[in-house]
């Protein structure tokens, strides 16, 4: 059922403005959401959120079970089980830590557990590296996790509240991972509006496990063994839940705007100077900052360039994205990830967009770029180079199928 919120908040309940990092902003949201069970395990850079929650608990702002697990596998299993008895849970990881939990990540969607997790995006080993890459979160793109990417501390706080509203909606009941670029967002402070609890209570109802609650008063058997006789139906139910999430996400953002008076009209992606854009660049996460600066510089020189910053990757906003992108004369998709051996050797986002455009009436030339791996800085020069190649493609009207690696030593 849709959640209908009550009257608008009273005027005296003002937001607080705090200078906090992306991780700290998530911890503020978790406190407001009255989290019940959280599990921590150290790995940089996501673990700053667990440090921030620990302070909330020791400081008395939050009452929750705070469990330090002995590895990511247990970390995710513990909250999975806590969620089945009705607790609101939070977890998270980065890079190979997320991969260590992989078995638990794949069982959570079919169990319909609305866990919310923070992925502080980090390069996968080897070599050991702390910098951002998006491959960690992207590995669960096919198995039923809702996936979104955030860009600022404010978006971190707001998206965390929205995440519980969406994941815990009975129409969805799927886990949700919020991706935050390691260091660039997890550790970078910005002024952030923190709403009062009363407003949050209007927006976010209590988690209700309903008929799936594991309790002696509701003696169900969860996940008994099934084979070819039932598994395909279970998979289709997952797929239907993912499809229903589209409506639930749109409702949640609309309600968020009504209650808090901020937030985007379009939940799915941010459009920056795309109205008259000849070339549209596409990326996810904090890569938006150098791209936006470069766009302003290029526009001063007469080049009409815009940015689409994708927020939601699962469910993938196919129709809206196609409508926004197909009007351009050329597209440049900048992946902060890789997919070795994929079509054209492109990154994951580029190939998703290629697939989304396949049935479009108008398909602009599309160029694929891989940039900023391992946390390497994405420079203005990188963006200029990508844009120049896009303009050349716009002139010729042809897509160059080659994937361009930017900012790499040759």
């Amino acid at each position: 059922m849709a959640v209908v919120t009550q009257a608008a908040p009273a005027a005296h309940e003002a937001d607080k403005e705090l200078l906090i990092s992306g991780s700290e902003a998530v911890a503020e949201a978790l406190t407001l959401a009255d989290l019940d069970v959280v599990t921590a395990y150290p790995i940089r850079p996501y673990d700053t959120v667990m440090q921030a929650i620990a302070k909330k608990i020791s400081g008395g702002q939050l009452v929750a079970e705070y469990i330090v697990a002995e590895g990511e596998h247990s970390q995710f299993e513990i909250v999975k089980h806590a969620s089945t008895v009705g607790a609101r849970v939070f977890c998270g990881s980065s890079g190979v830590g997320w991969m260590y939990a992989m078995e638990c990540l794949v069982v959570t969607p079919p169990l319909r557990v609305p866990m919310v997790a923070l992925v502080g995006n980090r390069a996968l080993d080897d070599p050991g590296a702390f910098g951002v890459e998006h491959n960690d979160a992207l590995v669960v793109r096919d198995v039923g996790w809702l996936l979104c990417w955030i860009d600022t501390s404010q978006e971190a706080l707001d998206t965390t509240l929205i995440a519980y509203r969406v994941a815990e909606d009975r129409r969805v009941f799927l886990p949700l991972a919020i991706s935050a670029d390691g260091a660039f967002l997890t550790h970078s402070q910005a002024l952030t509006m923190v709403p009062p609890k009363a407003k949050v209570d209007q927006f976010l109802p209590r988690y209700n496990r309903g008929d799936l609650l594991l309790h002696p008063d509701n003696p169900i058997t969860v996940a008994p063994q099934a084979n070819e006789d039932w598994v395909i139906e279970i998979r289709r139910q997952n797929n239907e839940a993912m499809a229903r999430a589209v409506t639930v996400i749109e409702e949640a953002y609309a309600d968020f705007r009504r209650v808090f008076g901020r937030g985007p009209e379009n939940p799915w992606f941010e459009e920056y100077m795309t109205d008259d854009a000849e070339v549209i660049l596409v990326g996810m996460g904090t890569i938006s900052l150098p791209i936006k600066v470069a766009i302003r510089e290029m526009r001063a020189k007469g080049k009409k360039v815009g940015l689409v910053r994708l927020r939601w990757f699962r469910p993938f906003p196919t129709e809206r994205l196609v409508a926004a992108l197909s009007k351009a004369q050329a597209l440049g998709i900048i992946d902060r990830d890789y997919s070795f051996g994929s079509p054209f050797g492109s990154g994951v986002v580029a190939n998703e967009i290629r697939a989304a455009l396949y049935n479009a009436d108008r398909r602009p030339p599309l160029l694929s770029f891989i940039c900023g791996l391992g946390g390497r800085e994405v420079t203005l020069e990188d963006v200029y180079k990508a844009t120049d190649l896009c303009y050349a493609a716009a002139t010729s009207g042809k897509s160059d199928p080659k994937t361009h690696w930017l900012g790499v030593r040759e």
Binding site: I78, L214, P216
Partner: protein, 343 residues
């Protein structure tokens, strides 16, 4: 949300059954499972929830007692039951207990003691899940029981050896051949001793065997009553994996104890207490030779005298050399040797 003042984290008080005639008649594990004839692990499941009663949540990690035991549309579980991953019995117990505790102490759920039991096989518990079980046994504020049903192989997947498979046994990963008679030459882990010795704040560790059903149920009841995380290791003869006539399951359980291969004991707040025929051995009764147990099972049919002698010597060590016989394999330094080495 603030904490409520009424939540106490208390456990259910489950008094021991005084004899088989006093055991409650209600069953919480009934028809619907499809385990093998003579399966002792299925009996362990039945006795485990009979002992715990209806206000119980059971978590089952992957293994026979999941795949063969809990099938969609034919669940045998009357109490709420949930699958957990192969190595996750510890995490399942901890997460379930933590979720209940959080909701009760914050007033979001009616406060009452609910038993949380997670079970695992020897592969899931002593191999893959050891780390998670160990972690759970250090979380003393969460009440749960982890029960390891040990049929001494990965019996669900075709009888492959685990860290709990006895020395020399024939499994599909250790088939005896013409050149190598014994493929598996590791000695079995001492799981209950390991759990008791390694987790000073775990208040209750016990070993059980379903051949002694009332004692087994009473140990489950004690583990749930005492509170905090607790651990029980059950030895379960397995006709398919051990290769014997299913009618002999109980008898083999008895022989495992009478030969001294598997001791029955509990460690409560650090105090070791022996039970039944294990207690008799401690008090001086002779152990039966291990060959009486081993040669009743096809998995040891390739054993020659040398193998039987090695096995017997290792079991003798448990009783004659270990500081706490059959429980803790430490040996105290001989006083004279200690004095010499001090010079």
């Amino acid at each position: 949300m603030a904490e409520t003042t009424t939540f106490s984290n208390a456990t259910q008080i489950l008094e021991p059954f005084r004899g088989v005639k006093r055991v409650t008649i209600e069953e919480y594990f009934t028809s619907g499972h499809r385990t093998c004839q003579g399966c002792e692990s299925a009996l362990v499941m039945k006795l485990m929830v009979k002992a715990s009663g209806p206000r119980t949540i059971v978590l089952g990690s992957t293994g026979c007692m999941y795949v063969a035991n809990t099938t969609y549309y034919t669940t045998p579980w009357v109490v709420p039951w949930m699958h957990t991953q192969l190595g996750s019995s510890g995490s399942a117990a901890l997460g379930t207990a933590a979720g209940l505790k959080a909701l009760m102490r914050k007033g979001k759920m009616k406060s009452e003691p609910i038993n949380v039991i997670a079970f695992c096989g020897d592969g899931g518990g002593a191999d893959m899940g050891l780390g998670a079980i160990s972690a759970t046994l250090t979380h003393k504020e969460y009440n749960s029981l982890i029960l390891l049903y040990d049929n001494e192989s990965y019996a669900n997947t075709d009888i492959q050896l685990s860290g709990m498979t006895p020395y020399g046994a024939n499994t599909t990963f250790s088939p005896p051949g013409k050149v190598k008679r014994l493929i598996h030459t590791r000695w079995k882990k001492n799981m209950a001793g390991l759990m008791a010795a390694g987790h000073p704040e775990c208040r209750y560790v016990a070993t059980v065997c379903a051949s002694y059903a009332v004692e087994m149920m009473n140990k489950v009841r004690r583990a749930l009553t005492i509170g905090g995380p607790t651990f029980i290791h059950s030895l379960d003869p397995c006709p398919k994996g051990w290769d014997y006539d299913p009618m002999l399951s109980h008898e083999l359980g008895e022989l495992a104890i009478e030969t001294g291969i598997f001791p029955l004991y509990e460690v409560e707040d650090g105090q070791v207490k022996y039970y039944g025929k294990t207690k008799a051995i401690i008090e001086g009764r002779a152990r039966k030779p291990v060959r009486e147990y081993l040669l009743k099972q096809g998995r040891f049919a390739h054993f020659v005298e040398e193998d039987l002698a090695y096995f017997q010597a290792k079991v003798d060590e448990m009783w004659e050399k270990w500081e706490i016989p059959a429980v803790v394999p430490f040996r105290r330094l001989d006083a004279t040797k200690a004095a010499l080495s001090a010079k």
